[in-house]
Subunit: 500 residues, 2 copies
C-alpha cells in the first residue's frame, strides 16, 4: 500500500500532494510498470482522505499516461514508461505518438518539466529560459508599485492593441535595438505569438496561402491550418527560405504570404544573408497583396558581430509584419508578444478587429511597460546574453574535450539560444534518442522540426544542407540547462555513442 | 499657445503628460472645435521638448479623433466633438460610426473611460466593475506571496489548458456555486471569453452554423464570422432564445450550434424558464453533432431567489459547453475566462488543440488559484452582490421618485448588473441618446445590441417583447456608476424628457 506523510505536504492541497507523491514513486521506480495500484476506496481509507480526492488524482495520472485503468480490475502503472521528448511539441500525426499512451501532448510536456525536478534528468529539448538569472526582485518591486500606484486604472478594460505606454516603450525599444521606426499606433500586443498569428490570419484572410520554413518552428503552420488556411512547407537551403525551392514545387496556386525568421532561424540557426533578403523583398514587390511575416523571436541574443537589420526595415512596399515575443527573453510562462503592422494593415486592424478585447491583463501590461521604459529589460538582456554565452562556451568546450571530440560537428551561428550538433554514430536517430532518454537525457532531433507530411522514408526534404551521412542531427536547446548538468550530458552522449 | 507645468507631470512620460493635458483642454473646452493647434516645431520650442514627442502626441490625438490635420495648414481640434457611446463596442456597419471621425472604436472606448475622469461625465454604457470595492490589498498580498513562494515554477510554460491547481479550484467553485460536476481535466482556461470562442470554433469546425441571440452580446457572432463561420441571429421572445422563431426563418441549412445565456441574458435580463430550457435540450438531442454554448457570464449576481441550474447540469447528451469569465466578477482588465468541455470535446481538444500554449501568464493563474481556493473570491462575490444590490436599489428608488416616475417602466430581473428601462418620450431614440450625451450622460440603447443586418427601418426584429410604442429602451449598465453620480443621471434624464 502507498504510504504518505501528510505532514510533509506544506501548502499543497491533499490532491496535489497525493498526485506528486504517486508520480514520484512511479518515476523513481518504487511503483513498477504494470503494478496494480490500490483501489480508490482502499487508498482513501488507508490514507484517511476522500474517495473523490483519490479519484481525481487517478484521473489526472491516467490523462497524463502514468497509469491506466482496466474495467472491473483496477488501476495499473503504465508499463514501459518511455517518453520521447520534443521541445516545442508541435508535430501532428507524429508516428511516434501513437505508440505512446499519452493522448495529451501538453501533459506530456508538463510531465517532462516536472520530471526534471525529480531525479537528475537533463532536458535539451525545450527552450526554458535560464531561471537562475531571472530578476525576481525587480519584478516583485514593479508589481508592487504598479498595484499601489495605478489603482483603479488597473481595473479598466485596456484598448484592443494594448495600453499606450507599453506600445510607446516597445516603439522606443525597437528604435534603439532593431533600428525600426514603428509608431506606437501600429503596435499590437497579444497574449503570445500564437494569438497574434490568429489575428494576422483574420487580417490577411483565410483564402491566403501561407509558405512556411521547413524545417522550422511548426506552430504557425498548425495555427494557420487549424484556422482553415492552406499551408505550404518550403525546403530551406543554406541561406534559409528558398524561393528557388518554392518555384520548383508543383503548386496550383502560388503562396501569398511567407513566414520567415531571417535574423535567426529555428532550429537551423541560419542568419539569412543580405542577398537572400533582397530576393525575398523582390518577391514581395512583384505582386500586390503579397505579405511577409517576419518572426524576429530571438534577435536579442546575438553573441558577436552586429545583427543584420530586420526585413521590416528594408521593406519599401509596406507589407512586412514584424513579430517578436517576450517568451524567450523573459520566460515562456510570460504570455506577451507584439507585432508591428504596416500602415495599411494597421487601419484594417482597427476597422475589422478593433472589437477584440486585449488578451493581456492590465497589470502585466503596466508592469512590462515599466520594466522596459526604466531600462530593466535592457539590463536583463545584457545579463542573459552573457549568461548564455558563457553557458554555451562551457558546453561546447566540454563537448570538444570529450571522448566524442572527433565525432562532433557543431554548427554555430553566434546567436540564439540553441545550436545544431551533428554527432557521428551508426545508430538510427530514433534509436539514438531513445537510448539517450533511457539514460536520462531528453533530446530534440532536427527531423522533429520537419512538417510530417513532407517526411518520407529515406528522404530528408530540405535537410540536406544540415545533415551529414552517418551522423544524427541534434537541436541543442541549452537555455534551460543548469551548469552542473553539463558533465552528465556529455557522459550520456559518450555512453550512447561509444557503447553502440 | 499651450502652456504646461512640467513639474506637475509626476511619473508620467513627457509624451503621456502632454497627451493628457492637450486632451483635457479639448474636453473642458479650453481648446475649441476647429481651433488651430500650435505647429509641432512651435510647440516643441515653446515647451522645450523634442519635435518627435509632440508629433507622437498629435498622431495619437488624430487616431483617437480629438484633432485632425490638414495638409500644409496644420493641426485643428475636431469640430462638433460628439461621441455616441456604446457599452460593449460591438456593432459593425453601424450607420452612426461613419459620421464620426473616429476610425478606431477601441480608442473611442478608451477615450470614454478617460473622459469619465475629466469633468463629471456619467457613463451607463459600459460594464466596468465597481472599482470602489476591488480587493486591492488582498491582490497585493497574493501577488507578493506568489512571486516569493512559487519562484522558478512561475517561469515554466504552463499546460495548454492552464495550471492544474487553478482548474481544480474552479472545479470546486463550480460544484459549490453552480452545482456543476466538472473534472478539472475538462476545464480550459484562456485569456478572455473571446479567445475561448476561437478555440470552440476550431473544436466544432468552421463549417458549423451558429445561431445567436438577437438582441444579444454581439461579440461571439463577430468572432465566429471573423473566423469564417456562418452566423444566424435569432429573434428572442419573452422566454429568451426562441426555437419557434428559428423554425420560421427561411434558411437553407439549419444551425448546428446555439449560443445562449439562459441564466441571465444580456441585455434583456431574461432568465430562461425551465420549459424553454427543456425545449432547447430536446433540440440538442434531436440530432447528432448539435452543440450548445452556454454563456453563464454573470450568474454570480443573482439578488433574490435560487438561481436556476445551468443547462450544462441538465444535459444528458454531453454536448453543452459551459463558459464563464472573471471580467465581470473581478474586472474587465483581468483577462481570464474558462470553459468546461464535455468529455468528448475534451478529448478532441487535447488531440487537435493541445499544441497551443496557454494564453494566461503563470503568475496570474497562480494568483487566481490562490484567490479562489482560499475563499477570497467567494467573499468578494458576496461583497459585490451587496454593493450592486444597494446601488441598484438606490438608483431605481431615485428614478421612481423623480419627475419621470410616471414615464418609467423598469424591467427588473433580480439579477445581473444591468437592467432595461423603458422611458416615455416622443423623441426618436438616437436623438434621445444624443441629447443625453450632450448633457454628459452616456447611454446604450437596446437597439445597439441588435445585429445590424437584422435592423430595418420601422422594424425591430426580436425587440417587440421588450420595447413599447412611444418609449425608448435603455440598457442601464450600472455596475461602474458611482453613487454620487446618481443625482446627475436622474436630472439629465429629466431634462431630456421634459424639455422635449
Amino acid at each position: 500500500m502507498i504510504t504518505l506523510d501528510f505532514t510533509q505536504r506544506g501548502s499543497l492541497t491533499l490532491s496535489e500532494y497525493l498526485y506528486r507523491e504517486v508520480k514520484k514513486k512511479i518515476l523513481n521506480g518504487e511503483l513498477k510498470g504494470s503494478e496494480k495500484l490500490p483501489s480508490k476506496r482502499g487508498l482513501s481509507v488507508h490514507l484517511g482522505i476522500s474517495v473523490i480526492t483519490v479519484q481525481n488524482v487517478y484521473e489526472r495520472l491516467i490523462s497524463e499516461g502514468y497509469i491506466f485503468s482496466r474495467e472491473k480490475t483496477g488501476y495499473f502503472v503504465t508499463p514501459d514508461l518511455e517518453i520521447f521528448t520534443k521541445g516545442r511539441p508541435e508535430k501532428s500525426g507524429d508516428p511516434e505518438s501513437s505508440s505512446l499512451c499519452y493522448r495529451d501532448k501538453d501533459k506530456q510536456k508538463e510531465k517532462y518539466q516536472e520530471e526534471k525536478e525529480y531525479g537528475d534528468f537533463v532536458n535539451l529539448s525545450d527552450s526554458a529560459s535560464g531561471t537562475e538569472k531571472f530578476p525576481f526582485s525587480v519584478w516583485n518591486r514593479i508589481f508592487r508599485e504598479v498595484l499601489k500606484t495605478k489603482g483603479e486604472e488597473l481595473l479598466k478594460a485596456t484598448p484592443s492593441e494594448g495600453i499606450f505606454p507599453l506600445r510607446e516603450a516597445l516603439s522606443e525599444h525597437l528604435k534603439t535595438f532593431r533600428n525600426i521606426q514603428a509608431s506606437p499606433l501600429r503596435i499590437v500586443i497579444g497574449a503570445g505569438s500564437e494569438y497574434l498569428y490568429s489575428l494576422i490570419l483574420q487580417l490577411l484572410g483565410r483564402e491566403k496561402i501561407f509558405a512556411l520554413e521547413n524545417p522550422g518552428y511548426l506552430k504557425p503552420g498548425k495555427i494557420f491550418k487549424s484556422l482553415g488556411a492552406e499551408c505550404v512547407p518550403v525546403p530551406l537551403d543554406s541561406s534559409g527560405f528558398s524561393l528557388e525551392s518554392l518555384k520548383k514545387m508543383p503548386l496550383k496556386k502560388s503562396p501569398d504570404v511567407l513566414h520567415v525568421s531571417p535574423s535567426h532561424h529555428f532550429p537551423t540557426g541560419i542568419t539569412m544573408p543580405v542577398k537572400r533578403r533582397n530576393e525575398i523583398l523582390r518577391w514581395l514587390e512583384e505582386k500586390k497583396d503579397r505579405w511577409i511575416i517576419e518572426d524576429d523571436y530571438d534577435s536579442e541574443f546575438r553573441f558577436s558581430g552586429k545583427p543584420l537589420e530586420p526585413l521590416q526595415r528594408a521593406d519599401a512596399s509596406g507589407r512586412v509584419i514584424y513579430l517578436n515575443t517576450f517568451t524567450r527573453t523573459i520566460s515562456p510562462s510570460f504570455r506577451i508578444s507584439y507585432m508591428v503592422l504596416p500602415e495599411s494593415l494597421s487601419r484594417v486592424f482597427k476597422e475589422k478587429l478593433g472589437f477584440y478585447s486585449s488578451t493581456v491583463s492590465a497589470i502585466e501590461q503596466f508592469a512590462l511597460s515599466e520594466f522596459i521604459s526604466r531600462g530593466f529589460f535592457e539590463k536583463h538582456l545584457i545579463r542573459m546574453k552573457n549568461y548564455y554565452r558563457n553557458l554555451r562556451n562551457e558546453l561546447i568546450g566540454k563537448l570538444n574535450n570529450s571522448l566524442l571530440k572527433d565525432k562532433i560537428h557543431i554548427r554555430e551561428e553566434d546567436s540564439g539560444i540553441h545550436f545544431i550538433m551533428n554527432l557521428k554514430t551508426d545508430l538510427p536517430e530514433k534509436e539514438f534518442k531513445k537510448r539517450a532518454f533511457e539514460k536520462g537525457l531528453g533530446l530534440s532531433l532536427l527531423s522533429d522540426y520537419v512538417y510530417p507530411e513532407t517526411l518520407s522514408p529515406g528522404k530528408t526534404a530540405g535537410l540536406d544542407s544540415f545533415m551529414e551521412q552517418g551522423f544524427v542531427s541534434i537541436v541543442v536547446n541549452y537555455s534551460g540547462l543548469k551548469k552542473n548538468k553539463i558533465e552528465k550530458l556529455v557522459s550520456v552522449l559518450e555512453e550512447v555513442v561509444l557503447d553502440s
